[in-house]
């Protein structure tokens, strides 16, 4: 299952890192101008609160000479391919495969419990 919040959070962190590691350090205003956006959009994108368009991402890469793969996370970083629903105390939540495996070990099926 795709963790969309995490996807945009990670993209935002990358955008910020790219901007801040320029020498001299680039301001949000300057990046906004490069991308043809408002400064507040940069703030929101960097925080993961706004979804940058593909057009914006490619513009960013073009300007800084990067590949898109350097700005976006790997699929496995944002998708829990084997995520599972675990129910504890009547509440269901999604957990990743490794976490689910440990939970299985800690909570044997109720039939085997007695």
């Amino acid at each position: 299952m795709l963790d969309s919040d995490r996807l945009y959070l990670l993209i935002g962190q990358n955008v910020r890192r790219i901007r801040e590691t320029q020498t001299p350090r680039m301001s949000q205003e300057d990046l906004a101008e490069v991308l043809g956006l408002k400064r507040t959009s940069i703030t929101n994108i960097e925080r993961g609160n706004q979804k940058p368009t593909l057009d914006t991402l490619y513009r960013l890469c073009e300007h800084f000479g990067l590949e898109v793969s350097e700005v976006v996370p790997r699929v496995e970083e944002v998708a829990h391919v084997n995520s599972r629903s675990i129910v504890v105390g009547g509440k269901s939540q999604e957990v990743g495969a490794k976490t689910a495996t440990l939970l299985d070990r800690l909570r044997p099926p109720s039939r085997a419990r007695r």
Binding site: R6, V95, L102
Partner: protein
């Protein structure tokens, strides 16, 4: 200035350490967890999971992602101790601690109550790992970056966690 709720949680963490005779730096946070009745397991968890607290049928287990930095593991244990101690009234429950979830990060799926619980658990963790009373014993007049580095080593926490703590205690000014 610290908010009253933060001060109250700090006090509870310190009282707990004194009761368990664990009021020493670095705080033996695993011993705290065990004295609170939790079994602690270190395992390979998903990257984005720091750990979890599983409370079911009166059995409490704290799992820690053993692939994370040892300081992070200590913070995770302390955070789960916070859920165990502060949120004991919640009954059977699974608390999963996501590594990237900061208190500033808005997760659409979590309720206001859950977010408050996470903030409280983080506050408790800071109070447990860096009790004000112990910290003040180690403070020098002027704190340099090297002093903060030494303090972090002494308490076995990250420099970032130590800096945040010193700011929240008004020892350091926020950057």
């Amino acid at each position: 200035m610290r908010k009253p709720y933060a001060r109250a949680i700090d006090t509870r963490a310190t009282e707990l350490l004194r009761k368990f005779n664990l009021f020493n730096a670095p705080v033996d946070v695993q011993a705290v967890a065990e004295r609170l009745g939790a079994a602690v397991v270190f395992d390979d968890l998903d990257d984005d999971v720091s750990g979890f607290l599983l409370k079911e049928k009166k059995v409490a287990t704290i799992a820690v992602n053993k692939l994370h930095h040892p300081n992070r593991q200590r913070f995770t244990m302390a955070h789960e101790c916070g859920h165990l101690y502060l949120h004991a009234d919640q009954g059977d429950r699974l608390w999963v601690d996501k590594a990237y979830t900061s208190i500033f990060y808005r997760d659409a799926s979590s309720s206001t109550g859950d977010k408050l619980a996470e903030i409280q658990a983080n506050q408790f963790a800071a109070g447990l790992l860096m009790p004000e009373g112990l910290l003040r014993e180690h403070l020098t007049e002027e704190l340099s970056d090297v002093d903060i580095f030494r303090l972090a080593l002494r308490f076995q926490v990250s420099e970032q966690a130590m800096t945040l703590r010193l700011v929240s205690l008004d020892v350091l000014e926020s950057a």
